[in-house]
Symmetry: C2
Subunit: 598 residues, 2 copies
């Protein structure tokens, strides 16, 4: 059975040493987040994930969710109790305004807990995750009455939340939505339509489910400009907060999916259900987009999380399983064979996952802090710079961390040979679960287009220029250090590739947008690699400094950081040249064939 | 529901135009394989795959196999009938010696049928596939009596065959095998032990199952030098060929796997079962290795096959599903949206799969013909050259076609968005089924080590030198053609990378074998890319010639070949530089960390 240990130590290294979290203690909520408190909070979170969530991950997958004849849904054993424990730990309201039942702590800590809980049990984590997403939308766009009605109950875990966007004929292209909203004359609307792929749409965990639903008010303009957001509680809510009759919302069926079996993915039928407008009429997409950066970062974290847990298990197996002999002579001469771990190709595989995971974790935390700054800073310039970076990096985080996270789950599964293909070892579940993260919350091809078509050129390219400047300055400031020099040379080369690709788009994509579209996927991964390379450079610098300062018992860990940084530069960054070559080959061969020639 | 159409036309282009199959009509069995017969045979095969095998692929996955309380196994509906139809078509004995009930036709045709049937229904195809593998081993190593007893019944589909290698504690490292064989004194042996992961180990399709089992004769030397091969029929076979009592062989359980649900993967218990030696004592591994090239080529074909069927469905969906608008303006102005197909990132994805599939099919056929030559040619030099190439390319075919085939199934699934994750659309089955091909018949890491550690240096590097010469000569002979010139320049550059990598191993891996191990995976993919690039160069040359000659109604198809060749050179070959960079970075960073540092 799979194991999992939350990487608390590595996370604290990033928070305290690499990103110096204490620097931000002027932000609301950060003053309370002292190093001691952070360590205690993460320790508690790790314990919950390791002892409560992880033990029901495999059983949850095997059991799955069941829709009963009356439309109710039964979740796997232990999920209701786990949700209660999760809520009791204060995790759902961690970053929420204390006025509505939250703790007001940094979002960054929530993002870290999201990694731990998604590693431990991704299907479970979606229940509180969607609740937190719905809470964020209500918090920003809801009326004060809506906030008072829903947020405290959701934060305490009594009610949950969902997001209802997709319909049978449209997912990515929300302009095609058909679900309609007709005014009831009392301020409420009658919502009618069918929504599909609604994660956690129905369950037996919470007393009520607060659905956020995109719909078109009768007579609204066509397309995305006629879409509004509604809050539709599954059960009517009395003025005193009591839960009443069903509100003509029902789960018509649940999907049979490749993975995340323990999360109920529902077809939701709205049959004149009573809903209330959230935010302005016809501005529903805006309301959704506000929370999209965090939601996409959440999915990015799922990619990292599956990569991490799959890696941990592959390492354990590679140390344990005896098969073959080392190329350099038996390492285990008194046993019939050496462990898998001695084989260079096994080591290469594990190192490549490790090098990704540690940099991806840094990349997540770096941007989660930017999210906190963007939402909480009182300094306009600082807030804008953070928001710029977050806008630019969100599609990169989502696209790259889920693409590579999935690949890494596959690589880790490969370490098990045939046993990786068998359900009981649990490795194939990580692969099946990780797969969805490349699809939902905007398929990765859409992320690439968002990056290249929207984010890159915004405000005259301000965000990408700031990134070039930051990385370039880091290289310049540190290239005098002999130990860092070869790492920084690789980083600079890949930064050059990124700059050349950016320039190529400027020169070739305006007149011919297909050149941007055909290169978007490669550009997303190119920017991702440079970002991860930059994270390694930052980590290596700190590791180097700590080693010089005596390392305080951390010498082994800091040396490992330097070796892993080198591995990343030597083995992952060479890919940037290939991305550049593909981008600059343009779109001609990609677009030349007619439909019939496929 | 998924669709499938066997690529008969593309296959005939390869056989007739690119590889000029008729050139080989001096080989036994080839004279009968006239172009007309080949076209008729492939047409019949295509029909069987499209009309009988494909319709039970998805239902077979959903139903799975069931082990009953008495140890029998029930296969999904329609499988028994499909096997009978497959056998009745003469497919099992297609390439087998007519003396033992076969048709003696070229193995190449069997390899092609393997692609079609694996696309249509991979789990099904393993039942006849394993039978053919067992037949090949018996044919080469069995006594005449064994051949007469088993082969005709297997060829006609009355009995099936299996391969029993893996045990709970060992798969890759067969030297650790514990199953024992004790002489009964009458020429037979009593076989006792447990084998796992036995595909088609038990089923309700055939009257008898002929197991080939690796075991250790009492007192045999330790390790791989003490392993012998035995034939163990599930039911005793009378002198008249009648089927008698169970031979103390039973299925203890079946595995719950990620995919290929319709093929029963069994734990087989041998409890003093009566078996007969096949080939010489203690030479069991040799007996297995003889058939390994073809078995591995068979698995390579499964990778291509899943890539092909996933691609076909992704193309159909991309043409049908309306979502968003083309970057260059609405292509479907009278509809609410354009088809997915207009989006460059969708097109990029489909082109990359198409460019792989067509080259991989050529690569398979090129090597299948070499297999026929290696087994049937009367010319020693020709036979040896063919055997050299097959030895060199077998791990490349197996490793690269299954790695990329799986990736392509994932990419094709991605085209469906959320629908790709749902069982009913069938795309996720292709991913789950394709996954096993990277693992079984030697995990891909083992293939890479086989290539670099064994095949590359064999006979002074004769095989790889022959490949360098052949590709180099092709470039030189054709670079005068203006249309081919840019393609050949890309191919030459990637050939240079391959030669540099090869040279680097010669200089750096002998003294330090870990340098070979750490670079093996990249070298395998580098050689694969150059091989596929060479296939594209060959196909482009023929397409170019046909276009010059008037193309005979094939102008669209031949133009598509040229565009796709260009796409491959521009978009896939840039990867060769990254492989070279990784290889020449050596093994230091890969091997530096201690086990505790992971």
């Amino acid at each position: 059975m799979p194991v999992y240990k939350a990487p608390v130590e590595d996370t604290l290294f990033l928070l305290n040493d690499v990103f110096q979290f204490e620097r931000y203690n002027n932000l609301p909520g950060f003053a309370e987040a002292t190093p001691d408190l952070v360590e205690a909070v993460l320790g508690e979170g790790a314990k919950l994930c390791e002892e409560v969530l992880q033990p029901i991950n495999h059983s949850g997958d095997q059991e799955g969710c069941k829709r009963n004849a009356d439309g109710t849904v039964t979740t796997p054993k232990g999920f209701k109790q786990a949700y209660e424990a999760y809520a009791a730990g204060g995790w759902i309201g961690l970053a929420m305004d204390p006025e509505y039942g939250g703790q007001g702590l940094p979002y960054t800590l929530g993002a870290i807990m999201n990694e731990f809980s998604s590693s431990a049990n991704m299907a479970f984590s979606m229940y509180p995750g969607l609740t937190m997403g719905a809470m964020a939308a209500l918090y920003v766009h809801g009326t004060d009455e809506q906030k008072r009605t829903y947020l405290p109950k959701m934060a305490e875990g009594t009610w949950s939340g969902t997001m209802n966007l997709t319909e049978p004929h449209c997912g990515t292209d929300l302009g095609l939505i058909k679900t309609k909203a007709v005014p009831n004359g009392d301020g409420s609307y009658a919502i009618t339509g069918t929504k599909i792929f609604i994660s956690a749409g129905e369950q037996d965990i919470t007393e009520n489910i607060i659905h956020l639903v995109l719909a078109r008010i009768e007579g609204a303009p066509q397309g995305v400009k006629g879409i509004s957001l509604f809050v539709v509680p599954r059960n009517e809510v009395g003025a005193d907060g009591s839960v009443g009759a069903n509100n003509k919302v029902s789960c018509g069926s649940i999907e049979h999916k490749m993975g995340i079996h323990a999360n109920s993915t529902c077809v939701m039928n709205y049959d004149g259900a009573k809903g209330w407008l959230v935010g302005a009429e016809n501005k529903g997409l805006n309301a959704m987009f506000v929370m999209m950066n965090e939601a996409r970062l959440g999915v990015a974290i799922q990619g990292l999380a599956q990569s991490e847990v799959a890696y941990q298990n592959a390492v354990a197996y590679a140390k344990d399983r005896l098969q073959g002999r080392a190329l350099t002579g038996a390492k285990n001469p008194d046993k019939p064979a050496d462990p898998l771990f001695v084989h260079p190709d096994v080591r290469r595989t594990l190192m490549s996952i490790k090098a990704f995971n540690e940099a991806a974790r840094a990349f997540v935390i770096w941007n989660a802090i930017k999210s906190d700054i963007a939402h909480r800073s009182g300094d306009d310039a600082e807030r804008q710079a953070a928001d710029d970076q977050l806008g630019l990096m969100t599609p990169v985080l989502k696209g790259v961390l889920t693409d590579v996270g999935f690949d890494n789950a596959v690589k880790a599964q490969q370490m098990y040979g045939g046993h990786g293909y068998i359900a009981e070892w649990g490795m194939e579940q990580f692969v099946r679960d990780a797969r969805i993260a490349m699809i939902y919350e905007g398929a990765n091809g859409v992320q690439a287009m968002d990056l290249v078509g929207r984010k890159l050129g915004r405000d005259g390219g301000r965000a990408i220029m700031a990134f070039f400047n930051e990385v370039g300055a880091f290289v310049k400031d540190n290239e005098g250090d002999e130990a860092l020099k070869p790492l920084l040379a690789s980083l600079q080369l890949s930064l050059n590739h990124l700059q050349q690709a950016t320039m190529w788009f400027m020169q070739n994509a305006l007149a011919k947008p297909d050149n941007a579209g055909a290169g978007a996927h490669d550009y997303m991964h190119l920017l991702g690699l440079v970002s991860l390379g930059y994270m390694w450079a930052k980590m290596a610098k700190v590791a180097q400094e700590k080693l010089k300062a005596g390392a305080n018992g951390q010498a082994e860990r800091m040396n490992a950081k330097l070796v892993t940084a080198r591995f990343f530069m030597e083995r992952s960054l060479p890919e940037t040249a290939a991305h550049l070559a593909r981008i600059t080959s343009g779109s001609d061969a990609t677009m030349a064939l007619s439909a019939e020639q496929f």
